[in-house]
Each structure stands twice: as structure tokens, then as C-alpha cells.
Symmetry: C2
């Protein structure tokens, strides 16, 4: 369960699509190698909701998960987790872990938050206690958690934001990133990475300015943040399309908090290596299932007596063993097992898309893969606008 000492964090670019920006690579971490492009299941509080760690590993073969610094800082506390072997030991997960900085949650979950140049003061959504996150403290928290990939504190703006507000905020994010890196430097043993986050709301010029400034940090990887905050999807893709090419070719690129299954290839086509989203597990719990044949809203009466598998093209435990009728029954009955079966399936659907893309890139067929996915998407109702 302990990190293998001496393993240096390293990204290995394996292949690039000749037609698009898509890349395949290997992310070597102290807790195993992650094949990219990678989707990271979200394990907010030290558990991917509804899924046992062994199933995450042996069923889904997830190589990396994401955990939320804000939640774990508040409960059970990062120092407690440090004493119990870091998050890897605490949750008994010996593969890679990425933690966010907590910034996004401070802005979206806490009752009150006040941003100053120093950091952000906020009230716990659990008990109202006041806390301060600074660029330095969030590195310390993530070091205590023992993350393989840490994120710098950033300011997350609502959408829409004015150009002026976005510029002001983005420049603060740059200063915070510099402070985080200065703080991290003496702690750095090369076994983990600290990713800065490109902000700039939906303004291309600000995204460019931010990316440019962050390059100076010579980080082991870069994230693109501030997307999936309510903006139209073409705008998110445009921001990624502007930003990704500015980032170093030989470092992993991570778009935070995206996306729908049909969007994953779009981000990968724009040069993205890593993504995460609560959607597969959250939608699962709500009875919204992603399948190769489109969405299934399991509560619909059409599935009442449907003896077929959720997705005939899926080989997950759920699809191999249960009918849509059974899934509908346990959903309607409010049984926990539904959330588990649905989460196992939705996560597998995402991870299968990722490995499908990776194989296409490695075999030089991503261009046609993408064209095919777009055709399917456009043919389906509810495709991307």
C-alpha cells in the first residue's frame, strides 16, 4: 500500500494522431502506470460512491481515481489521513490518486467564501466553521493526503463572468500557482506532480495569457479549469482548443470536470490526456444510464418487463448478469444495489470509451474513430448542439 520509493513521476508520449490533436501516453506514478487518455472516476470522500475498491480495481481496472481535497480536509481531516498511511493506505487503494485543490468546492459548496490575494476564507458546509485555504496550505493538505498528482489552488469563476473580472481572477490564479510552486519546491522529491490550472473563463486571450504565464513553472503536467460551469459546450471545446496547443507536448494535459460520454472524444481530439467527472456515478444513482445505444432512463415503464441487458455491447458485471427489468425494479424499490450496479456500468462505459480511443490512437485510426463517433452522436437525439 506504500508508495514505491524512488519512482519518479513521468509522462511518456507514445503516439499522436496524424489528423487531430489526440495523443496516447503513459503516466508513470509512484502508484503504478496510467494509460492515457485516461478518465478518472471521482472518489470525493475516499470512496468512489457505490463501488468497492476491489471492484474499481478488478472489475473496472481503473488506474487512477480523483479525490477531493476540500471534503477530506474537513472530514476526516488530512492529518488523520496522513497518520493512517495517507489516502492510499487509508482507503486501501494502491493505484494512482489525483486530488483537486479544493478550490472548486470552496466556491460551489461552502456557505460563504471570501477571496483575498492571500487565499480564500470559507465556511464548512458541514458545520459552518471558518477555514482558510491558501496556495501553500492546499499543497500541504495534498502532501498529507499523499496524492500522486496535486492541483494548485485556483479561483473558480461562475459563468458568465465579465472580461475584467475574469482577467483579474486569472491573474490571481497565476500568482497563487507561483506561490504554490515556491512552497512545493523544497518538498519536491520528484515522486509526485503539482499541476497548475489554466483559467480565463471563456476568453481566448485570457486563456492564452494564463497558459503562457504558467509555462514558466515548468510543471510536470497542466490542467485546464473553469469549464463545465454552465457554459454552452461549444465554448468549452473552443477554450480547450485554444489552450491545449500552448501547453508542453511532453506533459500531460488535464481538463477538469468533463464530460458526457460523447464529449470525451472531442476533448481527446483537442489534445487532452486526462479527464474526470462525477457524471457516470451521479447519473447512475439517479437512474440515468449511458449505453452504446444511447441513454437509458431506467425508471421508464418501457423497461418494466425488459428481459434484455442494459447494454448488449457491454461486458460489465451488471450487463452480463441482470436485465433492465431487474435494474428498474431495484431502482424503483430504492435498493442500494441499484446504485452499485448502475455505477459499475456507467464507469465501465466511460473507461471502455477511453480504452477504445487509446487503441484507435495507438493504431493510427483515431481520425476515423472520431468521425464515426460524431456520426453516431449527430444521428442520435440529444447529441451535442
Amino acid at each position: 500500500m506504500r508508495a514505491k520509493l524512488g519512482t519518479v513521476f513521468r509522462f511518456e508520449l507514445q503516439a499522436q494522431c496524424p489528423d487531430t490533436g489526440a495523443r496516447a501516453g503513459l503516466l508513470h506514478t509512484a502508484h503504478g502506470t496510467v494509460e492515457t487518455p485516461a478518465f478518472m472516476p471521482v472518489g470525493t470522500q475516499g470512496t468512489v460512491k457505490g463501488v468497492l475498491q476491489r471492484d474499481l480495481q478488478s472489475d473496472l481496472d481503473a488506474k487512477i481515481i480523483l479525490a477531493n481535497t476540500y471534503h477530506l480536509y474537513l472530514r476526516p481531516g488530512h492529518e488523520l489521513i496522513r497518520r493512517l498511511g495517507g489516502l492510499h493506505g487509508f482507503m486501501n487503494w494502491d493505484r494512482a490518486i489525483l486530488t483537486d485543490s479544493g478550490g472548486f468546492q470552496v466556491f460551489s459548496l461552502s456557505d460563504l467564501n471570501k477571496v483575498t490575494d492571500r487565499g480564500v476564507v470559507f465556511r464548512s458546509h458541514l458545520n459552518g466553521d471558518e477555514h482558510l485555504f491558501t496556495p501553500e496550505s492546499t499543497v500541504d493538505v495534498q502532501m498529507a493526503l499523499g496524492s500522486d498528482i496535486m492541483m494548485v489552488l485556483d479561483e473558480c469563476l461562475e459563468y458568465p463572468a465579465s472580461h475584467e473580472r475574469a482577467r483579474h481572477s486569472m491573474r490571481r490564479t497565476i500568482r497563487w500557482a507561483r506561490e504554490a510552486f515556491a512552497h512545493f519546491k523544497p518538498l519536491d522529491d520528484a515522486r509526485r506532480a503539482l499541476f497548475p490550472i489554466v483559467q480565463g473563463s471563456m476568453f481566448g486571450d485570457l486563456r492564452r495569457e494564463c497558459a503562457d504565464a504558467l509555462l514558466d513553472l515548468d510543471a510536470r503536467g497542466y490542467a485546464i479549469g473553469g469549464l463545465s460551469v454552465g457554459e454552452p459546450r461549444p465554448l468549452s471545446l473552443e477554450m480547450v482548443e485554444i489552450t491545449a496547443p500552448l501547453l508542453p507536448q511532453d506533459r500531460p494535459r488535464y481538463v477538469m470536470g468533463v464530460g458526457l460520454p460523447e464529449e470525451l472524444p472531442e476533448y481527446v481530439a483537442r489534445g487532452i490526456d486526462m479527464m474526470d467527472c462525477v457524471m457516470p456515478t451521479r447519473n447512475a444513482r439517479n437512474g440515468n444510464l449511458f449505453t452504446s445505444q444511447g441513454r437509458v432512463v431506467i425508471k421508464q415503464s418501457q423497461y418494466r418487463e425488459d428481459a434484455g441487458p442494459l447494454d448488449p455491447n457491454c461486458s460489465c458485471y451488471t450487463c452480463r448478469n441482470f436485465s433492465r427489468a431487474y435494474l428498474r425494479h431495484v431502482f424503483q424499490a430504492g435498493e442500494m444495489v441499484f446504485s452499485t450496479l448502475a455505477s459499475l456500468h456507467n464507469l465501465r462505459h466511460y473507461l471502455d470509451i477511453m480504452s477504445g480511443m487509446r487503441n484507435a490512437i495507438l493504431s493510427g485510426n483515431f481520425g476515423s474513430y472520431l468521425a464515426e463517433r460524431r456520426a453516431v452522436r449527430d444521428a442520435a437525439a440529444g447529441g451535442l448542439p
Copy 2:
């Protein structure tokens, strides 16, 4: 997933304790053989709450589970389940299933119920619809579910009940049992069993009268019902002690709805072969865990930083992989995974007790096993009164 045609329901008595009434046997069903004494995890709505079927099978090696006729009759409906391969096919469980008759739930869950000699009229706890259960209809429902062991409709009294009321009710239960058997006879292919239920509240004479009358049915097994309804535990044990010896030696005996871990040996010592209880899974979800070292109420702050396993003497997935501190964290955080980990453990604790007892009986050591269990129980705080 289908029943193996031609398998005849049969109980094979293997060993009897020379000192107590304890017995070890094999219950051969169309869906596999069940080693007795057996504890049946409760799968009310076609799922043992929080536990995947594969884990029930490969982790816990449960050979038989119990499902509730009342719940499945109301939702999704027994005819739907019949069309989808019976409950075995529907929930993808190819081992044995026992279903209760629904009587207990009608009396405990439904908004309104009215007992007549014909049966019991009740309102669904889901939508208030009025329904009628008769001795015949509950056999039909259980046949549709495809149960390996069905129970006759019985009237379940509250505790305490007067002798007169108990006698009246017990005699109705006998009449209902006769009607159920008369209805079952032409349907009987010897592959499943219908168990009558001995009632009589807490009155020895009524229990004797009921057992005596039910013997005429020459059933493949007998249940003792109407216990665990709020009476002091010594009274439950007394009723079992009176009733069990009256039942046929060569048929399985099932006490419904019991009990606590430390009570299981007491029932077995009195000649009981089968038990079921929601306690392992319900208590699990509430954070009450059974261990070889006593109860663990996981929310207690003493476990906050407890790096040890829940039960050092348990080899379940939970105890092999997670600390009490982690379990406390996911409980406090309201994470589903807690219920799953806790249910896996509590069920394993019960099933381990059962196999320990069975081994003791088979090796002729149940007398000393029982004495030891009683000593441990009496030494512990919160033991039986």
C-alpha cells in the same frame, strides 16, 4: 439459472449432538444443497440490501437466502417475476430461496389489515391499494416466484396477546395451513417444500396443540413463527424448547426472524436447523457491527483513528482491507460503501457462527462449544438476560 428438473426436496440428517438438541444436516433443493444449521440472509425485495449477488455467493458463500412475498407481490409483481424466469432468474441467484408467505409484513407494514377466516385484506404500504391474501393465493404467489421453500399464510399476533385471542388465532392458522396444503397438493412436483408455521403466542399448550395439528400435514419442513415480536428472549427460547421436540426428527425446523449472534447457538441447541433475521444487514447500515470481541458502534469517537481491523478474527473483505478509522469515516460521511462493507462483515459474522456450530456438531463437540459461547456471552456486558 433454471431449476434442475427432477431434483427432489429432501432433508438429510447428518449428526445429532449427544448433549443438546443440536443437529447438522443437508437440505437438498432444486437450487443446490444447504448445510444446516443455516442462517438465511434476508433479501426482501430481490436483493440482500447492500450486497451484490456475486459477493453473497463468492465472498459469503450463502447457500440460501430469504425473500419477502409481500414486497415482491406488490412490486414488481409476482407474475412479472414469473415471466422473467422466477425470482432465481430475475435476480440472477441460482442457489436456494425461501419466501415467507407475506403474513408477517401484512400485519407489520400495511396501513390497514382485516383478518377474516377467508384470509387477510390489507392496504399496500406503497400506494394504499387494497389487496387480499388467502392461504391459496399466497401459495400461488410463491409458486410464481419459484421459491424452493414456501411458507403458509399465518396470522401473526402482537405481543402480548391473551390466551383466548392466541388460541383463536392459532386455530385459524391451522385451518389456513390445511387450505394451503390442499391447494398445493395438485401443484406439488416434489421439487419444492411448503412449510406450515407453528403459532400459539407465548403459551406452551397452544404451541403443542398447533404443532400436533400441523403434523398431520406431513410437511417437508416446519417453521416456528410468532417469535421476535417483542417478547423477552427467555420466552422465545422456551417456546422453541417446547415446540421443536414435537416436530418430526427427519424434517428441517425453521425459527422465523431470529436472532442476535449470541442467540443463534441457543436456538440450534434446541433443535433448530434454519434461521433468518434482518439484523446483520439492518444493524450494519446503522453502524452497529458484530465482532468476535463484542459490538462495535462505529460512530463512536474511540474509532476515529483506530488503525486496526473491525474484527481481528474475521477474514471478510472488510476486515482484511479496511481500518475501523476508514469505516468510521465512510459511515460519518454517509457513503454507501459503508453499508456494503458493514453488511459484508455482519453477514460473514453470522455465517461463520453457523459453520462453527455445524463443525462442532459434526465433530461431536457442540456441548462444549455451547458452554464456551455461553461463558463468553455471560462475561460480556449486554449479554442475554
